[in-house]
Each structure stands twice: as structure tokens, then as C-alpha cells.
């Protein structure tokens, strides 16, 4: 229904363009130079009149339809049905909707449900026919009205351009919408979580076991939401990753910018970028299947007690993934240090490494610090490697051979699979998400301000 209607509207829009353009040419007997705008603009203007109101109507209906259906289903429902608890009621409505559209229901339809689906069909069936008629009428009406107004003096180009510019400005507003959507949804769900669990317990509690039991009288039914072990695990893995990525990335950047021949540079730089392009799920597989067992075997030979999901495996592999972030960002800032500083230092008799350590690196330091901070925020937010290679148990430990869990791992385990949307367990994921968002945002802001504040201007 929706697809043919959309196709019909698009067809009408195309027709509107042709009609508007033809009309403009007819008004001036084919002499386009007498028109205010070029003929195509009249076509576009008529097409916009045809398409915009009708599509707006269609979208408005689609947004309203679910609540209309729900209202219809419930309005005639028996007392028994209306007395159902909220989530059973929701199920009833969605079953009625499915039945009305000829889909599969999760329960055997009884009389109540069939009657309800009849009422739902009133909206989705007859309502949609009515809507289609209205939408098509709007489209044709818009087309007709606009076509009649086509004249020599009509400033079609200016009108079309005004609408297009509005559209351009609106698209750039999507970025604001997305941010607002993220912040609002995170804050809203987190507020609901904090209504169940006090913020102090979440931020300062030392025990994390979110698995709430189904029955209230089971052992550990309450669940504990002290997130400190989760934060500590994230920190441990991030530190391990930075221990790998910062020295390797920084030294690679130094070598590439100050020692490597142009040919070596041309080969190595893209290869390093490949490391950043490999999907994280591949790194996760590699960490879980290759690196983890190797570390475990090594630890066993040394007589250490190594968990099979050790923080070390995840941290090492994440470090490898982060190398290109550190190296390419530092490479840029090291290259930006003016050659004259290097030459001055070399001219005084310093070796190249002395020049780099005493002159180039101090000059590039703000940029390097910001690169490291950006890489760190990337490591904190990284999900798949830790989901696949780190553990689920929330241990408060600094031992890299033990299994730890991270914020992202907990978000994934809490939200994957079926969930009810008002339990503390699922809401906890949003609280963790908000923390994650806040921390990465702060790191990015600090990174940017470090560069802005301490950057040396050489020109």
C-alpha cells in the first residue's frame, strides 16, 4: 500500500515538473527569454507544490497511525482486557495489529482479539484508503493550483531557491538533532535508573552483579549496581592499550617524519592506516582466539595463574588497533614543527635524536598530548574487542592476567536479547552509556583545548 502510493506520488511529481515547465513555455509562446526564470524553475516550483504538502500529510499519518490503532483497539475492548497489566495489554495491542495486517500472532486468537483486530483494521484498512485518496487529492490540488499561477512575472527561481536553502539549513540541523537525541535519551533513561538505584550506590559501590532474579525470593534477587569495578576494568584495559599504542605509535611517527626516506614513508603510512580500517570484530576474534590462548600458555609455562579471558589479551590487541590513531595524529603535528627549528639545532652540533628529543618533541607536545587523549577516548569507547576477549565478571583488580569487565561489555550484555524496559538491569546500561558519553566527550574537549591553548605559532 505504502510503496505504490509513494511511487504514485513520485510519478505525479514528475508529471508536475513537466506540466509546470510546459505551462511556462506556453505562456510566452515558446520564447523562454520573456520569462523571469528559466522554464525548468517553473517545473520545479510546481513539482514542489505537488510533492511537499502530500508527503507531509503521508508522514504525519504514519506517525499518528500507531496511536490511532491502539485507541481503536482499546476503545471497544471488554472490561477484562482493559484490566490487563501494562505489558500484557501491549502484547494484546500488537497481536491485534498483527492479526489485522494478516501477520502472525504470538497467541491463538480468541474472540476478544478478533474483534479488536476488526477495529484495528478500520484504521489500517479503511483509514489508509481514505488517506491515500486525501494524499493524492492534495498532490493533484497542489499541482493544479501552482500550475495556474505560472505567469511571466512569477519569480519561480527565487521561490525554489528559498525552499532549497531552507532544506540545506535543515539538513545541517540533523547534527544538532542527533546530539540532542543522544543526550536526552541517555539522560531520560538514566533518571529512571536513578529513581530505582541511588546515584551514590552506582558511582561509589564496589559490587556489580546486575543479574536480577525473576522471583523476588531468590538469592541475590536485588542485584547490585556498584559500577566502580566496571570503571576500574575499563581503566585497566585502556591503560594496557595505551602502554602498547603510545610508544609504538609515537616512535613510528618520529621515524616516519624524521628518518624514513620518502619511499619507505609512502609504503609504511598506508599500511599503518590499514590497521585502523580493520573492523573491530576482526580484532576481537583475533584477541579471543589467537592472543588469549598464547598468553595463557605462556603464563602457564611461567607458573602464573592466567585467566583465559585476561585483560592483557584485550588490552594488547586494542593497543594495536589504536596505533594508527596515535601515529597519524602525531605525525601531523611533528611534521608541522618548522624545519628551521631542526636546522638550528643540527647546526649547533646536536645529533638527530637529540634534536628530536630536545627540540621537535617539546614543540609538538600539545599536539601529541591531544593525540594521546583522542586515542584514549577511542579505547574507552571500543566495544567489540572487549566483548569478545574480555570477561563478564566484575573484578576489582589491577592484575592484567585476571579477567575484568568494561563499561561497553556491560552495556552489550545488559541490552542484548529480550528485555523488559523498566527493570533496573536494562536501565543500568543507559546510566553506563551516559557515563561513557560524558567521559569521551570530556576527553575530546580537553584534547581540543590543549591544542588551542598551548599551540606554538611559528609563522
Amino acid at each position: 500500500m505504502l510503496l505504490p502510493l509513494t511511487a504514485l506520488l513520485l510519478g505525479l511529481t514528475a508529471a508536475a515538473f513537466a506540466l509546470g515547465r510546459g505551462r511556462a513555455l506556453a505562456v510566452v509562446q515558446g520564447n523562454a527569454s520573456l520569462l523571469h526564470s528559466r522554464p525548468a524553475y517553473y517545473g520545479q516550483w510546481v513539482a514542489l507544490w505537488c510533492a511537499l504538502p502530500s508527503f507531509a500529510l503521508l508522514l504525519g499519518w504514519l506517525a499518528l497511525e500507531p496511536s490511532l490503532v491502539e485507541q481503536q483497539v482499546l476503545s471497544g475492548a471488554s472490561q477484562e482486557v482493559r484490566g490487563l497489566p501494562a505489558e500484557r495489554l501491549e502484547l494484546f495491542v500488537s497481536n491485534a495489529r498483527a492479526l489485522a495486517e494478516g501477520g502472525v500472532t504470538s497467541t491463538v486468537p480468541d474472540d476478544d482479539l478478533i474483534a479488536a483486530s476488526e477495529r484495528a483494521r478500520r484504521v489500517t484498512g479503511a483509514g489508509r484508503w481514505l488517506l491515500s485518496g486525501l494524499v493524492v487529492a492534495t498532490a493533484i490540488g497542489g499541482l493544479w493550483g501552482a500550475r495556474r499561477r505560472v505567469s511571466r512575472e512569477l519569480r519561480a527561481r527565487n521561490r525554489v531557491e528559498r525552499i532549497v536553502r531552507l532544506g540545506l539549513a535543515a539538513s545541517s540541523g540533523i547534527a544538532i538533532l542527533a546530539t540532542v537525541g543522544i543526550v536526552l535519551s541517555l539522560i531520560f533513561e538514566t533518571a529512571r535508573f536513578f529513581a530505582l538505584v541511588p546515584p551514590a550506590d552506582f558511582l561509589l559501590g564496589l559490587e556489580w552483579s546486575p543479574q536480577t532474579a525473576i522471583r523476588a525470593d531468590q538469592v541475590g534477587s536485588s542485584g547490585a549496581f556498584g559500577a566502580v569495578p566496571v570503571f576500574a576494568g575499563t581503566l585497566l584495559i585502556t591503560v594496557l592499550a595505551m602502554l602498547v599504542a603510545v610508544p609504538i605509535g609515537l616512535m613510528s611517527a618520529i621515524y616516519l617524519s624524521d628518518y624514513a626516506t620518502p619511499r619507505v614513508r609512502a609504503v609504511v603510512k598506508p599500511l599503518l592506516e590499514i590497521l585502523a580500517g580493520i573492523p573491530t570484530v576482526v580484532y576481537g576474534f583475533f584477541a579471543a582466539l589467537s592472543v588469549g590462548p598464547v598468553i595463557r600458555a605462556f603464563g602457564e609455562r611461567m607458573g602464573w595463574d592466567v585467566s583465559s579471558e585476561s585483560a592483557l589479551a584485550a588490552g594488547l590487541v586494542m593497543g594495536v588497533m589504536i596505533i594508527p590513531f596515535v601515529s597519524s595524529l602525531s605525525d601531523d603535528v611533528i611534521n608541522a614543527v618548522p624545519q628551521s627549528l631542526r636546522e638550528g639545532s643540527l647546526g649547533l652540533g646536536a645529533t638527530r635524536s637529540e634534536t628530536i628529543r630536545r627540540v621537535v618533541l617539546p614543540a609538538a607536545l600539545p599536539g601529541i598530548v591531544s593525540a594521546v587523549l583522542l586515542a584514549m577516548s577511542r579505547a574507552i569507547g571500543e566495544t567489540m574487542i572487549v566483548v569478545m576477549a574480555a570477561g563478564l565478571a566484575a573484578n576489582l583488580t589491577a592484575n592484567p592476567f585476571e579477567a575484568v569487565t568494561t563499561v561497553t561489555v556491560q552495556i552489550v550484555t545488559l541490552l542484548v536479547g529480550d528485555q523488559e524496559f523498566d527493570s533496573a538491569k536494562t536501565l543500568a546500561a543507559f546510566a553506563l552509556g551516559l557515563t561513557l558519553f560524558g567521559v569521551t566527550l570530556t576527553l575530546n574537549v580537553i584534547a581540543l583545548s590543549v591544542v588551542r591553548r598551548y599551540r606554538e605559532e611559528y609563522d
Binding site: 500507531p66 532549497v164 532544506g167 539549513a169 539538513s171 545541517s172 540533523i174 547534527a175 544538532i176 542527533a178 546530539t179 537525541g181 543522544i182 535519551s185 541517555l186 533513561e189 609504538i248 616512535m251 613510528s252 618520529i254 621515524y255 628518518y259 609504511v268 599500511l271 599503518l272 590499514i274 580500517g277 580493520i278 573492523p279 573491530t280 570484530v281 576482526v282 576474534f285 583475533f286 582466539l289 589467537s290 594495536v320 645529533t351 638527530r352 635524536s353 637529540e354 628530536i356 628529543r357 583522542l374 577511542r378 574507552i380 569507547g381 566483548v387 569478545m388 561497553t408 552495556i411 541490552l415 546500561a429 543507559f430 552509556g433 561513557l436 558519553f437 569521551t440 566527550l441 575530546n444
Partner: protein, 429 residues
């Protein structure tokens, strides 16, 4: 050496040697860092390739099945429906019993049947349906071996180890060896891996369903993020007044680029699924989430491409009477297009490899069917990799690596297109 000058004394020479040694060491550290990074890359790729290539092949065995007409089509109708309903699994089992009469007792027979994939019966049925004349004959058919037997032929089972330690017992290995000795076992290119959907049986599982899901998701992503991204970039570069609102938009775009991908998944779950009540597990929602994620990439790349078009072009167009919008659409955008496309392809490649946000919106379901549209339940290639990597079945390790190889092939292809676009069409002014 005389000790006349301060700079030629033994102490000075020693100090110089030390400084040169430090220089060499420093240089070595740099080379080592690059070596380590390259080594990690090579190790990763070689491990995956070494494990993944066998997944493209599977062992098959040729067996003789007695297609008894009385069992398959008792009335001789030749009706495809009757033919399709026959008990082919029973026929295959009968053929196995005939091949190895020494398998006696229920348990031993079951071990014998376990050598052949569950898909064997379907393979047989398809062949019968394709050619009805074979009914009533003894038909020679090639069927896939089970995953365990396949691993045995790929060298993954140590026959010398204790019987309890392996998935195959001594009898099963004897039967397999006998088949191999008779030349009935062949290692063939596994088409199923590329044309089949997911399955619980490793030897039947394929990536086609996930691939189609990825395609639908990417299509939605592209349809949303490309027009929106380019429009936003055009507005910000060409029309936006310098005021607080514009600054706010720019800050938001830069922040979005730095938000961890899983947070976009949370947004999708809270807004698209719970608030807008869009379908779970659907490429539509996945594409919308990934579009928001790639939008900053597309905007930033498009802006720099638009900025690179020299102002003289704009001034020339304005000078001959073009309106500002005509300047953009007739002159600036066509010239900036290669750069914009390059940025878009790189953004799409990142979206193709993204897993975490899709886990949040339910694209992790076990889905056998190939998705038919943007609203049917689907999974995508990286999520399929994640699901297989999680599976305890050993045979899925090879499948996972094989799927990774396919994913990496797509990524390399996309990046190559981007590189070619950049080098062929980008103009330096």
C-alpha cells in the same frame, strides 16, 4: 692522540661515541616500532587467512542411494509435491547401512549417520526433483560430510589421541578412512558458504543472508547520510552566516564524530525502537543508526572538498549572473564531487565493518532466511562473524575466519575505489 684540544681529548671522543650510540639506538627504536606494528598487521592477516581459506572448501562423499520407487512415489504420479515429501533422510541412512553393514546396534548406527551432514537429505531431494527419471534406480549422489568428519579430513583430529578426547571414535575414523581409501571423498569448493543462509550446522552455514542484510543496511545508510551530509556541508561552507547557531552546529558535528559507536546503538534502541516503535532487527533501523554515525565523516569530507574549489570559480560564475545556488549546483558541487564521493565511500566502509550499535537494536537474532527488504529481520556480516565466533562448535572457527576474509575483501575493494577516485579525478588548483 694528543691531549691538546678540549674537543679531541679521549673524554670528548668517548662522549661522542656515546652520543652516536644513542643516536643509533633511537633510530633502532623507531624502526622496531614500525616493525612491531607491521608484524602485528601481518600476523593478524596471515592467521585469519590461514584459518579462513579452508572454510571455502568442504569434503563431500559419494554414496549410492537406492531410490526405491515404492518408497518415494508409490503411485508413480511424478508429482513434485509427492516427490518432495518423501523420506530422503531415511534413504540416505539406508545407503549408509548398506555401505557399512558392520554398524550394528542403535548407538553405532547413530555414529554412522553422524558422519553425513543433515543437509544430505535436502541435497538428494533437490537432485531428485531436478531429474525425476532417477526414481527407481540406484543413484550415485555426492553429499556433504558432517563438520566433524570434514575437520578430520582437514587434519584437525589427532587419530592417535585417546578415543574419549576426540569428537570421532575409532569406528567412525575407520569408516572415514575406508571411504577415503575407496577414493569416494573429495574436497570441493563449498558453494553453500556463499549462497546459503545461517545454520546451526557448521557445514551448511553460509554468509549470503548476512551479506544481503549488510547490503540493505548500507543502502539505507547511503540514502540517508549522502544527501543529508552533502546538503549540510554545502550549507555550512557556502551559505551559513557566521553566528552562534552555526558555531553550535559545527561543535555538534565534531562531537558526533567522536562519540563511541555503541552510544549510537543506545540512541537507536531508545529513540527508533522504543519511542518510534520501528521494527527490531531490521536493516531500516540499522541503516538509520549507521547513517547518524557516518554523517560526520561525510560532512567533514564534503566540506574539505568544497573548500578546495578555488573562489575564482565562484566569482566567475557570479560574474556572469548565476545565483548563489546555481553557482553551487552548476560549478562547485561537480568539481567537489570526487572528494565528496571518496569521503562517502570511506564512511560506508566504516559502516560496513561496524558491529556494536547493531547489537543494541536486535540485529543479533539467529536468522536463517535471506532478508527480503529493509524491514524484514536481518543480520549483517560483522554481526554474523560475532555470532559464529561466539559459537562453541569448533567448525565455526573456520567459518568465522572465512566470513572475515569476505568482509575484508569488500572493505579492500571499497577503499581501492576511493583511492582510485582520489587519484584519477581529484584536481589540484
Amino acid at each position: 692522540m694528543t691531549e691538546g684540544s678540549l674537543h679531541t681529548s679521549d673524554a670528548a671522543a668517548r662522549k661522542l661515541r656515546k652520543r652516536y650510540a644513542a643516536e643509533r639506538r633511537f633510530r633502532l627504536y623507531g624502526a622496531c616500532a614500525i616493525g612491531l606494528a607491521m608484524g602485528a598487521l601481518v600476523l593478524l592477516l596471515v592467521t585469519i587467512a590461514w584459518r579462513g581459506v579452508p572454510a571455502f572448501f568442504g569434503h563431500e562423499v559419494t554414496i549410492d542411494v537406492d531410490l526405491d520407487a515404492a518408497l518415494i512415489d508409490p503411485e508413480g504420479t511424478g508429482d513434485p509435491e509427492v516427490l518432495g515429501r518423501a523420506d530422503y533422510s531415511g534413504l540416505v541412512k539406508q545407503a549408509l547401512r548398506a555401505e557399512f553393514p558392520d554398524a550394528q546396534g542403535r548407538r553405532e548406527k547413530r555414529r554412522l549417520y553422524a558422519l553425513i551432514s543433515n543437509g544430505a537429505a535436502y541435497a538428494l531431494r533437490d537432485q531428485v526433483l531436478a531429474d525425476r527419471t532417477v526414481v527407481g534406480t540406484t543413484f550415485r549422489v555426492r553429499v556433504p560430510l558432517s563438520a566433524d568428519a570434514d575437520i578430520y579430513f582437514k587434519g584437525g583430529v589427532d587419530a592417535a589421541s585417546a578415543e574419549g578426547d576426540r569428537r570421532l571414535n575409532d569406528d567412525q575414523i575407520r569408516w572415514l578412512d575406508r571411504w577415503a581409501a575407496l577414493g569416494k571423498v573429495e574436497n570441493r569448493f563449498a558453494r553453500r558458504f556463499f549462497v546459503g543462509g545461517d545454520s546451526r550446522e557448521p557445514e551448511l552455514a553460509g554468509i549470503y543472508g548476512a551479506l544481503v542484510g549488510s547490503l540493505w543496511t548500507l543502502a539505507v545508510t547511503l540514502l540517508l547520510s549522502f544527501p543529508l551530509g552533502v546538503a549540510a556541508a554545502v550549507y555550512l561552507e557556502e551559505f551559513a552566516p557566521t553566528n552562534r547557531l552555526t558555531d553550535f552546529v559545527e561543535v555538534n558535528i565534531n562531537n558526533l564524530a567522536a562519540v563511541p559507536s555503541i552510544v549510537f546503538g543506545l540512541l537507536g534502541l531508545a529513540v527508533f525502537l522504543n519511542f518510534l516503535e520501528l521494527p527490531r532487527s531490521a536493516p531500516l533501523v540499522g541503516g538509520m543508526v549507521l547513517a547518524l554515525m557516518t554523517l560526520p565523516t561525510v560532512i567533514i569530507a564534503s566540506r574539505s572538498a568544497i573548500m578546495a574549489v578555488p573562489p575564482s570559480i565562484r566569482e566567475a560564475a557570479l560574474g556572469v549572473g548565476a545565483s548563489p545556488l546555481q553557482v553551487v549546483s552548476h560549478h562547485v558541487l561537480p568539481l567537489a564531487l570526487p572528494g565528496i564521493l571518496t569521503g562517502t565511500i570511506i564512511g560506508m566502509a566504516r559502516a560496513l565493518g561496524e558491529t556494536a550499535p547493531l547489537l543494541m537494536i536486535g540485529m543479533v537474532a539467529f536468522i536463517v532466511d535471506v532478508p527480503e527488504g529493509p524491514t524484514s529481520p536481518a543480520t549483517v556480516l560483522p554481526v554474523q562473524i560475532f555470532l559464529w565466533a561466539d559459537s562453541p562448535e569448533r567448525a565455526f572457527v573456520a567459518k568465522t575466519s572465512g566470513a572475515i576474509l569476505v568482509l575484508l575483501t569488500f572493505l579492500v575493494a571499497m577503499n581501492l575505489v576511493a583511492v582510485v577516485l582520489r587519484s584519477r579525478f581529484e584536481r589540484r588548483w
